[in-house]
């Protein structure tokens, strides 16, 4: 739980969840839901008012330094220094994480470090620009560079706080592909926050929060089941016959006529096959997760 000083309400209020190693976890919620606060607490830049958490067995309050070593963070606001070159940004990160001792120029840095940077630049396709100021890079390239940089110290968990905010659609897509590649090759646990539902669809598990509380938690399919009401809407000229028939096979119907038959694991086909009465209306209602999500967060987004 976290209540900011001078705040009347808790920014994060009794949320609790587990993320498995290697998982792609998404914390989903509208603006102001408490996503950044949650990440700040988990990455030890903010102390919780009460409660706690552990990351890879290290307590975020008592073993803050160990936790910092185990996590990588991509902030909502770009964290590259625009006046420094790409290499300098990488070098400073490497030194801050104690990977290599400091040297004032690239040439004086450890040989292994230089090999790593060369490799990295090749991977990003910026071999020629690695010694140019970051200012001259595109927004997408900067984000990729940040991700690469955050992986230098081989973190167990990579936190990304709305990494695609402010990027255009093609850039967002390439960033996404890049992230998928990172997951495949490094096996790092990814903890991502977003307010875009579509970014949660590939996740192993999703936690939806709103106003500092957990609204739903599970795999995207589970969440869908949890939040979304799937049904077939049927109607017939002979309504009483239809009503009697629907009551029989153990379907759950709501309202009617027209009747809403809950799918509940039944296929639409099976339901229709069991109805002999000629139907005048058949309409399937399988709203997208997005519809359901909007329903949850719609009120607070106003």
């Amino acid at each position: 739980m976290k209540r900011y000083k001078k705040a009347d309400t808790n920014a994060v209020d009794g949320i609790s969840f587990q993320v498995k190693a290697g998982e792609f976890f998404v914390l989903l919620g509208p603006n102001g839901a408490g996503k950044t606060t949650t990440i700040s607490i988990l990455t030890t830049t903010l102390a919780p008012t009460s409660g706690g958490a552990t990351i890879d067995g290290s307590d975020i309050v008592r073993e803050a330094s160990a936790v910092r070593r185990k996590v990588g963070i991509i902030f909502q606001r770009p964290s590259l220094d625009q006046n420094l070159t790409a290499e300098e940004n990488i070098r400073f990160h490497a030194v801050l994480y104690g990977l290599y001792p400091y040297a004032p120029t690239y040439g004086l840095m450890h040989r292994e470090y230089r090999a790593q940077v060369t490799e990295l630049a090749k991977l990003l396709g910026i071999a020629r620009d690695i010694h140019k100021p970051v200012r001259t890079f595109s927004g997408g390239m900067r984000r990729k560079l940040e991700i690469m940089r955050s992986l230098l110290h081989d973190p167990k968990v990579l936190f990304l706080d709305e990494p695609t905010a402010g990027l255009d659609v093609p850039t967002r897509r390439t960033l996404w592909e890049h992230l998928a590649e990172v997951r495949r090759t490094s096996g790092t646990t990814i903890f991502l926050t977003t307010h875009y539902l579509e970014e949660a669809e590939d996740a192993d598990r999703v936690c939806i929060i709103d106003k500092g509380r957990v609204v739903s938690f599970g795999t995207p399919a589970e969440i869908k089941r949890d939040l979304v009401e799937d049904y077939v809407l049927v109607d017939a000229t002979d309504r009483s016959a239809l009503g009697a028939q629907l009551a029989r096979p153990g379907y759950v119907t709501k309202g009617g006529p027209p009747f809403k038959v809950q799918l509940d694991g039944h296929t639409v086909h099976a339901i229709l096959r069991s109805i002999e009465t000629p139907l005048s209306v058949v309409r399937t209602h399988t709203p997208s997760l997005e519809d359901a999500y909007l329903e949850i967060v719609g009120a607070s987004d106003e």
């Binding site: 830049t45 963070i73 006046n83 400091y102």
Partner: protein, 267 residues
């Protein structure tokens, strides 16, 4: 091997201090606009205020007011430069590379030390710029004076940094940071006697002046230029000023860092 491990830890913290300082300095060097802006202030003060005071009152006062203002502004600029640099740490916390520094596994003390070192390096070209400007205005500057003033500059820079830490630790928001200049810096300009003599102040002002840290930075720089209090211009001797600066430095650092580290995570 606990010794070896703590040695490695110490080396990596030392590396981190250097990296933070390196970044501060590179930032300044590559930001031409800022370089120019940093010189504008002292140039206006010394060139316009110092020169006009000298031509207006100087001869009658029997003191060269251009030299007086030159030394005062030199001490003030360096002191304020590092102090402001440290205070900017607060505003920077959520910007660019600073966020990266704050989440890295280095100790908070390392951040403070790296920042003080970096901001002191940033003050260096300012020192040089002002001294060159002094030559332009034909302020007499001998080699021995320059050496003393350079050493004093280093002391004053670190002292300003310590003051910055104390202010930083007591700020809660960026809005407060923008008001610092009006309430903390500006009064000290006059209480520290950069342009005006403060040898004979009414008691309340005298008390305020004596608790103004900037006063000792300015006076220490004047000691270096004039060669101590014997010349009649600096208020205190080099050793007295140095002792006061040393004591304030320790108190500011200990209290400031303690409060800063504590406030950092309990927002």
């Amino acid at each position: 091997m606990p010794i070896s491990r703590s040695w490695v830890q110490a080396m990596s913290e030392a590396s981190a201090i250097l990296v933070i300082a390196h970044r501060d300095f590179s930032k300044l060097i590559r930001d031409r606009q800022r370089m120019i802006a940093e010189f504008a202030f002292p140039v206006i003060f010394i060139g316009i205020l110092g020169t006009s005071l000298q031509t207006g009152f100087g001869d009658r006062a029997g003191v060269n007011l251009l030299h007086f203002v030159f030394t005062g502004v030199l001490g003030m600029t360096i002191w304020q430069s590092t102090a402001q640099g440290l205070i900017s740490l607060l505003a920077d916390r959520e910007q660019d590379f600073s966020q990266e520094i704050f989440v890295s596994p280095i100790s908070r003390y390392t951040i403070i030390l790296g920042k003080i070192l970096g901001e002191s390096l940033v003050a260096l070209p300012q020192w040089l710029g002002i001294v060159i400007f002094g030559f332009v205005l034909q302020v007499p500057l001998g080699a021995d004076q320059l050496i003393r003033m350079a050493l004093a500059g280093i002391v004053v820079a670190f002292f300003g940094g310590a003051f910055g830490v104390l202010v930083l630790a007591n700020l809660s928001s960026q809005r407060a940071a923008t008001q610092i200049f009006t309430f903390v810096m500006l009064p000290q300009y006059f209480l520290a006697g950069i342009f005006n003599p403060i040898g004979h102040l009414p008691l309340p002002l005298d008390i305020l002046s004596k608790i103004s840290p900037m006063r000792y930075a300015v006076d220490f720089m004047r000691d270096a230029y004039y060669g101590g209090a014997g010349s009649g211009i600096p208020l205190f001797d080099t050793s007295t000023n140095f002792a006061i600066i040393g004591a304030m430095f320790v108190v500011f650092m200990v209290v400031g860092t303690f409060l800063f580290v504590r406030a950092e995570r309990n927002r």
